[in-house]
């Protein structure tokens, strides 16, 4: 049996106005779904004084206004919440994401193929064959951390990070795959690019993906890329 899931939440304080609620100790879909359950429960019945709720792989960070609530009050509320019936959890959304793999759009595709001793086409086949779980959004607005990559695609980060990674770059690092939602420096292996907009501050919701989504990639060619962009 898995013991990576804690039977009771573990609390850590982050200064005088944040409470970290840890629900397990591994990057694992089951642990992450527990975080999502707690997150959804708190969204449905907001905790007084909490100004920000940040879900991540295995924990939920509650940032609060110390003039409106206290650490012990929050801890009690979370303890009560976890015993509630959380079967109301919405079904994960299924989202398909077009990717133009290789060439200038995926400058590390050849290297990744070489690292695993397979062809670039085989990398694309493997990457598009699996459905990925969105663990969390972080690092930059709209950036999804997704997993697990098949064993045959587990790749270390680049030794020297790039100073500029274009927006929409689809990338690999260790057991995860992600999409650069805005242009930024970055050290992940870039294998392709999506024409979809991952983050648009003027839209609601601002991010295309959120925690709990199920994502599948499909390959497109340059012509289709142009069509998608219009």
């Amino acid at each position: 049996m898995k013991n990576m899931l804690y039977s009771n939440p573990q609390y850590r304080v982050m200064g005088d106005r944040a409470l970290l609620v840890e629900l397990g100790d591994e990057i694992d879909v089951e642990v992450n779904n527990k975080v999502r359950e707690l997150f959804v429960a708190i969204k449905a019945d907001p905790l007084e004084g909490v100004v920000e709720t940040i879900p991540s792989y295995r924990s939920l960070l509650l940032i609060f206004d110390p003039l409106k609530t206290t650490l012990s009050l929050l801890q009690n509320r979370v303890d009560l919440l976890k015993t509630l019936d959380l079967s109301q959890l919405p079904e994960p959304r299924r989202i398909e994401i077009p990717v133009l793999y290789g060439s200038e759009y995926g400058p590390d595709l050849e290297w990744v193929a070489g690292y695993h001793g397979i062809t670039p086409d085989e990398v694309i086949r493997l990457h598009t064959a699996h459905t990925y779980h969105v663990y969390m959004i972080g690092f930059m607005p709209g950036f999804p951390y997704m997993g697990e990559l098949p064993e045959a695609l587990m790749t270390p980060r680049r030794e020297t990070p790039r100073t500029v990674v274009p927006r929409g770059s689809v990338a690999l690092a260790q057991r995860q795959t992600g999409i650069y939602s805005t242009q930024s420096p970055g050290g992940w292996q870039i294998i392709g690019r999506t024409p979809l907009t991952l983050f648009d501050p003027g839209k609601w919701p601002p991010a295309l993906l959120e925690m709990g989504d199920r994502v599948k990639f499909f390959a497109i060619d340059e012509e289709e890329m142009t069509d998608w962009e219009q």
Binding site: G15, D16, E52, T53, S59, P141, S181, P206, A207
Partner: protein
Amino acid sequence: MGAVETLEILTSGPLTTVQDRGRFGFGRYGVPPSGAVDSFSLRVGNLLVGNREDEASLEITVIGPKIIALIDVIIAITGADLQPKVNETPLEMWCSHLLKKGDVLSFKGPKSGCRAYLAIGGGISVQNIMGSKSTNLAAQFGGLEGRPFKKGDTISSDSPARYLKAVGRSFDKALIPSYEKDQVLRVISGPQDDHFSTKAKEIFLGSPFQVTPQSDRTGIRLAGPRIETKKNLKESIISEGVVPGAVQIPGDAQPIIILGETVTGGYRKIATVISADLPLLGQLKPGDTVNFLKVSMDEAYQAIGSVSTGAALFQSSV
């Protein structure tokens, strides 16, 4: 009356942006708070010119811009002393002043602190994005087109004439913070203090750290003795949400104090700066020295109480 052009940037400093109290409630989408690093100076400046305390101001970093008034407008400058002057006359900080049409505001140079705040009666008329006017430089949105000000930009304010009566207000001199080159920051241990040996924690609390030039709005990078994590631990932890003020120890064993441009991170946090001392982080500049002082949760809450009381008293007086 609506939005009226009040100021024009004649020359820009290296980094002047629009910032308010910040953008909260969008962490689930990876959106960080941004906002004024020194929120105390932001609030006081706004109250001086008659704005709501959470209105947006110009956050000016080390080197000031040169700005001309396009109409009569009320301003106040708080925070770092960059030696502001109007035309050739020095301008008293922490007071509200009338800028007459054609007056030129400039800055002689940094004397103390790192970030000055220019509050304008009527605020800054830019789009509210996810509840805030703050500039997010990394994702390039908010404020003025998501970027710093440059020469030729104009600033609009809402009904500035209504604020002219706020002229001549001043903040209690006894309450103006001093920005020392040697700063003590009070911290609460954790969240991962148990990942460090007693010796490492002693070094952290007992040593001065110097602010390095690599510091910016994303974090204050410090240089000092190495803070080693316990043996047999992985280099990083599983990424988790973070707050401004969290002191993380990355692989090079040198502390970084996280500021408001980050939502998640995968480094251990040995301690977290208390809320009452967060505004001071905005005034640390390269070369300054930081010492960390461990306090209890009770002391942290008492400190918040005294800061809030000072601001509240001032608010009721204006």
